[in-house]
Symmetry: C2
């Protein structure tokens, strides 16, 4: 895509100079690195020490004012964007680029195109000043593209090394989520084991917010994405409160964790927000969830308010134990008995057959689902024959079942309101927004820090910028050994080293804050209207981090 | 709803002082009114002159620097929000309120609650400083609520007059779209015919942009709504161009006219934007539309781009002649032969029966529709038995049919790409956004002007602020006689006086600008990323009117 026309905001954003932590604002030669003690993995230490013989247990690195004699080295670095888009990716690249060029104008940054496959296939572009300038402070990953290829086979590891050597790279930076950074750790180890000095540095990216821990306060992109969704939810809330006739069921991206839904709830105060982790923990059934929503509809209706807002995390279905079981049984059944199933032509015959084959419990769950959801479960399957969970319209499923429940309550005389519901799904709207000032600053700092880690000759580290609830000048930059965040988990039947995914913690402050208020928010309309992300204007409007981050850091 | 918590943006927006046209910035006593010549309706002048014996043919009013001795009159005014929400409604109220209080601190503004029914039922609230201040520069109509009640029966007219008299009102301001302002004209005439001096002033509101003409350059709310949708479309375009794997089909609110889709296309440059008015004019069939989209998919795929953006106006279906005919036949058939239809239990029997009863042409159209759309047409009917056109998921209909067409092309060997499509519908997201600076200024000016018209003793006028492509100081405020914008149209079988709806003009500059570029945009990815509405920062980012307005005024 040749950019022919720029929006006024894009032009204005080109001029934005991201803020850096104080220690990183000085001359490169005036930054020193400090190391802490040796570190340990969060679990399975012995096994991880074996797997990461060369990179395990490194100390945490911090950058402070001081001096160094490595920052002017001539370096050749390759960068990869891995996985789904997140606002700020271009600024990570800008941070690396500016650091490299400031250190030594002869240093080179190349961008691998289309994700990790760009490394495997030696498909890349050398980044120049004018090319970089077209992408500063912009959203999207379109500068070099992204992809979901995993470097996993022996051949792929060998190809990565060959290409890195051919391009005479000193280092590869992998910008990605938990999986991609696990991959970065493996690649770092492999490069050393193969006798090279090629370094690998990770950068924590994901709008889902599930790559975080004691040392990574948030992944980049979460801030902008939730602010974009909160804008829309707030607008819809205001519409609901003005028109007073619709219940809006809003599904939000975030397959594994409910951080996005939770943060949006804290920002906008909807009547209901489902948190998958709580539902799994309490082993709630679909019926319980539906009845609980219906009860809130009834209560609000009796207060004269036949409208409302419900937030639903995208991954909900898989966290409801009985649905998870049903899907597993369906996947199994339709794979094993495909031939018999294929003979059935009418939907009625298919459902009858399926119910007869499922366990009694799963059959009963299936039977209660609205017909269009039954159809999605039977027909919308991926090439492996599995149900495509992400395609299930959970928001419509809940609307259908709540409607049914309300009819029952109406017949029983305990409800006489009107229920008219609309559904929405927000995800793609937020992944490529112009990064908020927070994400623009954070990403640029992460990229700049990644360069500093490379200059220091470190490998197997994740670029880390902390103290993020404070103004950018007070942020602390450094590096966290990737192995420190790992444990062993079962994947496809065998134990693999992985970075542990951060789900919503039910005893954590953000969820507890939500619990403290949700009963009030359910019945008393308390919507907050965040409005569109602002890049200019008062700092309290433009530069605030998320509520989740603020609470977790308090 | 008791507002318990304000977002930082909401607090900051309270401080925003909307800009006024120069003539309105001075003391109220230093504003004079000028009148043009007598006016005529756009058509059916004789009949309209009869119907509006007292209010027909008034001159256009303009406010300029000068003097007057009426602006300090003690006035009692009632205001009504009518119809769907549009950003800026609260600022219209603020403009009226501030004008009234500046003129005479004893003047009173009351807000009728829940739309026109508030007038009929004498359900109102007196607006105070503190109440007003909670809603300045905010979105939504939640300050006093809105509603869709039409004042149409003799009883309703009589009730309106009785309540207005009981409340000792000097004037009623109706903030609404074409229908509501037609109603305002009728009410103005009625009040005079009944021997009172109660005035009625209209204010042009609708995000759809279809209330405009030579004298009303744009309706308020359009600016903010399209900017909100363009933000989302741009974000999705950037995502599509980064991920390079999805076609996004985006339906946009706007039932009668395609102004919203057209403006969003001009702002974001998608690959395809359907314009209902063109489809109707060219009498295109659904098959032609589908084939044309598929052709673009094929061309882009042959360029290696298996992704794209398609914008679809909400009202599309009704503009496709054969679909319009099919829906009319279905409504008729299912009403007349309901008993026979009800006997059929399976979907297969229902479709077979329906096809046998429809005309051959409509039967063929129905047969080609995807099953879920056939189902929506048969099952999703309103209490009168009519198909609920607004509930038809046109975006999914098109995806389904394009998929089918691509399979044919694949079999014929003329397509070998991948087509994976996602659907979106944006409407509610934009109706209650914080008004853009343009809408905040425009609405406040409209409200202030409405007050001036009232002070001048005028009735049957629409508040008008023109020259809107220039900075606010150069705007021109005045009043346009409502009858001037009217003609006679068939409604429910009889000729009624109505304000003519402004559809997209195929020979107008905005559409011609689109036509000039659309072939390039179709095949060469040319997306523009407008980003979120900005309220602070450079004027070229914050204060620009829409492209449609700019072109129409050029």
């Amino acid at each position: 895509m040749k950019t022919l026309q720029l929006s006024p905001l894009q032009k204005a954003r080109y001029e934005y100079q991201p803020k850096l932590p104080k220690a990183l604002q000085s001359d490169l030669a005036s930054i020193s690195v400090e190391f802490g003690a040796a570190t340990e993995a969060i679990a399975d230490q012995a096994r991880l020490k074996e797997l990461f013989a060369k990179t395990y247990g490194k100390p945490i690195a911090s950058f402070t004012s001081g001096s160094n004699d490595v920052s002017s080295k001539l370096l050749r670095v390759g960068v990869i964007l891995s996985g789904g888009q997140a606002p700020g990716g271009h600024n990570v690249i800008a941070g690396i680029y500016d650091g490299l060029k400031k250190g030594n104008p002869e240093s080179v940054l190349i961008g691998f195109k289309g994700g990790p496959s760009g490394l495997l296939e030696k498909d890349y572009v050398e980044i120049t000043d004018s090319f970089m300038d077209e992408y500063r402070n912009t959203g999207g990953f379109d500068m070099i593209g992204s992809g979901r290829t995993k470097i996993s086979t022996d051949q792929q590891f060998a190809d990565s090394l060959r290409v890195a050597k051919e391009l005479q790279l000193n280092a590869v930076v992998v910008i990605g989520g938990d999986d991609s950074n696990t991959n970065a750790a493996l690649l770092a180890e492999y490069f050393i084991q193969e006798g090279t000095n090629i370094q690998v540095i990770g950068v924590p990216k994901t709008i889902d917010g599930d790559l975080k821990n004691e040392y990574i306060e948030t992944s980049f992109g979460f801030d902008t994405a939730v602010k974009t969704y909160a804008e829309l939810i707030g607008n819809i809330g205001r519409d609901a409160n003005s028109a007073k006739k619709y219940w809006h069921f809003i599904k939000l991206m975030g397959r594994s964790a409910s951080h996005i839904a939770l943060e949006c709830a804290l920002q906008t105060r909807p009547n209901i927000c489902l948190i998958s982790e709580e539902i799994a923990e309490k082993k709630q059934t679909l019926e319980q969830i539906v009845n609980s929503i219906a009860d809130t509809v009834v209560t609000r209706s009796s207060n004269g308010e036949n409208f409302g807002l419900v937030l639903i995390p995208e991954g909900l279905i898989e966290f409801i134990p009985e649905m998870n079981e049903l899907i597993a049984q369906l996947n199994d059944l339709l794979a094993k008995e495909a031939a018999e199933y294929e003979k059935l032509s009418s939907f009625e015959d298919q459902t009858a057959w399926v119910i007869s084959k499922l366990s009694a419990a799963s059959g009963a769950v299936f039977k209660e689902l609205p017909a269009d959801i039954q159809k999605q479960l039977l027909m919308d399957r991926d090439p492996h024959g599995n149900v495509q969970v992400s395609r299930i319209e959970t928001e419509k499923l809940l609307i259908g079942m709540v409607e049914k429940r309300l009819v029952e309550l109406q017949k029983a005389g305990s409800y006489s309101g009107k229920f008219s519901a609309l559904n929405h799904f927000f995800g793609y709207e937020g992944r490529c927004a112009f990064p908020s000032n927070f994400d623009a600053d954070y990403c640029y700092s992460l990229g700049y820090t990644a360069f500093l880690l490379i200059a220091q000759g470190l490998t197997g580290y994740l670029s880390s910028v902390r103290n993020l609830d404070k103004p950018a000048a007070e942020w602390q930059a450094g590096g966290i050994p990737l192995t420190m965040m790992m444990n062993m988990e079962q994947r496809h039947g065998s134990a693999k080293p992985v970075i542990r995914k951060a789900l919503v913690e039910l005893d954590g402050k953000p969820f507890q804050e939500f619990v403290k208020h949700r009963q009030i928010w359910a019945t008393q309309t308390s919507y907050v209207f965040p409005g569109a992300i602002q890049y200019y204007g008062p700092a309290e409007v433009c530069d605030q981090p998320t509520i989740t981050l603020g609470l977790e850091r308090s």
